[in-house]
């Protein structure tokens, strides 16, 4: 039933470009009110997927629906959608206010008051030609035109590229606000930190295929972090072989590099038996997560 259908539903979505794959057999569901991260390295098919969702390109096979409706057959569903493309191109001669007025008219809106309010919050000069704006300000124009009709579904393709950290925080604040208002947010990124603070669930894509869909917490729990410990005297080679979740990757000088999966407790206690001079840890980044997933797959297959 349309009233309860998910915000986004992709079923066996495949897009081939000649013999090149765009995306292959993607199936995922984004529930209403959810913030959904779409994560993958560059060239993984994120933009292809998003352009399929918006009917800018057509699937080779499979189908997609927004709020239970095929976006190809029903243009009106785009009233409920706000979109910021990854490669954002704007009308250079218009000002942000003019661009918003144009799109507001196309959407049948009477005023651009909300656009002006968002622009003010983002500190965007609204009356200057867009052609004269900085990269960051252009990105803000993209955000404002996507937010001004307070849509039920926001689709962002790499939204924080070009935004300075302060504005990024404002952006995350806006996402939280929209989520609180019941909107669904779909955002793609090639780096985990960009989505992990705001996303409820994350889909991982690589080479056009969906690797996994998981909550951010679950993902981080099972991903490898990296711990780098420097000792006064290097412990014996077998000192850490029995520590659960930890694995030695490398030794150099007085330093040992560990890969850590899950909780850090066991490793910390094992380290405590030695004189630790310096300790450094990195959160799992995307590549580590993919590596851990591949290892898991390989292990499961064996």
């Amino acid at each position: 039933m349309a009233a309860t259908s998910p915000a986004i539903e992709a079923r066996s979505l495949t897009k081939m470009y000649g013999h090149d794959r765009g995306v292959v057999d993607l199936s995922f569901t984004v529930e209403r009110g959810e913030v959904f991260g779409f994560l993958g390295p560059n060239g993984a098919g994120k933009t292809t997927t998003i352009r399929l969702l918006l009917d800018l390109i057509r699937a080779t096979s499979g189908r997609v629906s927004l709020f239970g409706v095929d976006p190809r057959c029903n243009v009106a569903v785009r009233r409920r959608v706000g979109y910021v493309p990854g490669d954002l191109r704007l009308y250079e001669r218009l000002s942000a206010a003019e661009l918003c007025r144009y799109f507001a008219n196309l959407r049948g809106m009477r005023t651009i008051d909300r656009a002006v309010a968002y622009a003010n919050r983002l500190d965007l000069p609204i009356d200057r030609p867009i052609g004269s704006l900085s990269k960051g300000n252009r990105q803000k124009v993209g955000l404002v035109q996507a937010l001004m009709h307070e849509p039920d579904l926001l689709v962002f393709d790499e939204p924080t590229a070009g935004l300075d950290p302060l504005v990024q925080q404002t952006f995350y604040g806006l996402i939280d606000e929209r989520r609180a208002a019941g909107a669904t947010v779909f955002l793609s990124s090639h780096v985990l930190p960009e989505v992990q603070h705001v996303a409820d669930r994350v889909a991982l894509v690589r080479e056009g295929r969906l690797v996994d869909v998981a909550s951010v917490a679950a993902l981080r729990a099972r991903a490898f972090g990296r711990v780098e410990a420097t000792f006064a005297t290097l412990p014996p080679p077998d000192a850490f072989t029995r520590v659960p979740g930890a694995r030695e990757l490398d030794r150099y000088g007085e330093t040992i590099l560990f890969a850590l999966e899950g909780e850090a407790d066991a490793l910390v206690k094992a380290l405590g038996r030695f004189h630790v001079v310096a300790l450094d840890s990195h959160e799992a980044d995307l590549e580590d997560i993919f590596l851990s997933l591949y290892r898991r797959e390989a292990r499961d297959a064996a």
Binding site: T47, R51, L54, D55, L56, I57, R58, V75, A76, V77, R78, R79, V81, G82, Y83, P85, D87, L88, R89, L90, Y91, R93, L94, E98, R101, Y102, F103, N105, L106, R107, G108, G142, Q145
Partner: protein
């Protein structure tokens, strides 16, 4: 001016349209201003008669054209070549820009994220093209009516209007063809190149068809034939030719809609 795609497109055309209007006014002013010295020099008629047939064919001088008459002069100096050429360039440029311009600049992704169907987008762009060319045609007509009045050329405003309308119609045909190639291929350059090449070929087919007997039956395939054959400046618009040109424009327009609504849009 930002109410819809139609008015936004016209808004974007303001700058270039101003130059086109200036050019058309300047051309008609020049052509009309020279006429009194042509009229007072009957020798010219003899000279033109002695032109080789090839030359006459290319400049739209029929076998028994009176070059020094107002109608003969305007036909050969303006309506056989220069007026349709200018309008054609404007129309092909606007047609190629219609969707392919936005697609190449990358603004199409953002525009189509609005609740706007591709068909509606294309129809708006086509309507803006027709409006632009109609305005240029009106400028041509008005400056001719005024110019003819000033130098005392005896051509009725109605006939000048018919000739201008015929040129507008021919330009719209090629504008629609350019829209089609732009909508199909997504490339402005390709749309301009293919359409312009087609226009040159059609022009040659019509001109040479006048001289070469084997080509004569093929002339009806050239839009230029239907433009010239009605001799709108002398006889007014010819209904059958008008209907045929309109059909070609509509055919190209529906082809554009069909191609544009089916395919993947490119990103720059």
């Amino acid at each position: 001016m930002l109410r819809n795609v139609f008015s936004k497109t016209l808004r974007d055309l303001r700058r270039t349209a101003a130059w086109w209007i200036l050019g058309i006014v300047a051309l008609t002013a020049f052509v009309v201003a020279v006429y009194p010295s042509v009229r007072d020099n009957p020798e010219l008629n003899k000279m033109v008669e002695d032109y080789p047939d090839v030359l006459k064919a290319f400049f739209g001088l029929g076998q028994d054209v009176d070059y020094t008459s107002a109608v003969g002069y305007l036909n050969s100096e303006l309506f056989s070549f220069m007026a349709p050429l200018l309008l054609l360039i404007a129309a092909i440029g606007a047609g190629a820009r219609a969707t392919a311009g936005e697609e190449e600049r990358g603004t199409l992704d953002l525009l189509l994220a609005n609740p706007l169907s591709r068909r509606r987008l294309l129809v708006d762009k086509l309507a803006a093209l027709v409006a632009e060319i109609a305005v240029l045609g009106a400028v041509l007509w008005l400056s001719l009516v005024l110019g003819c009045h000033i130098v005392g050329m005896h051509v009725s405003a109605a006939h000048l209007g018919a000739a201008s309308a015929a040129a507008v119609l021919l330009a719209i045909v090629y504008g629609a063809v350019a829209v089609f190639f732009g909508a199909w291929l997504g490339s402005r350059g390709a749309a301009i190149g293919i359409t312009a090449a087609g226009a040159v070929a059609a022009y040659l087919l019509n001109s040479l068809g006048e001289l070469v007997d084997s080509l004569k039956p093929l002339r009806i395939a050239s839009p230029f034939y239907h433009y010239v054959a009605q001799d709108a400046l002398r006889d007014g618009l010819g209904l059958d030719h008008v209907v045929l040109l309109l059909s070609v424009a509509l055919f190209a327009a529906s082809g554009a809609v069909a191609a544009f609504t089916r395919r993947d849009l490119h990103t720059p």
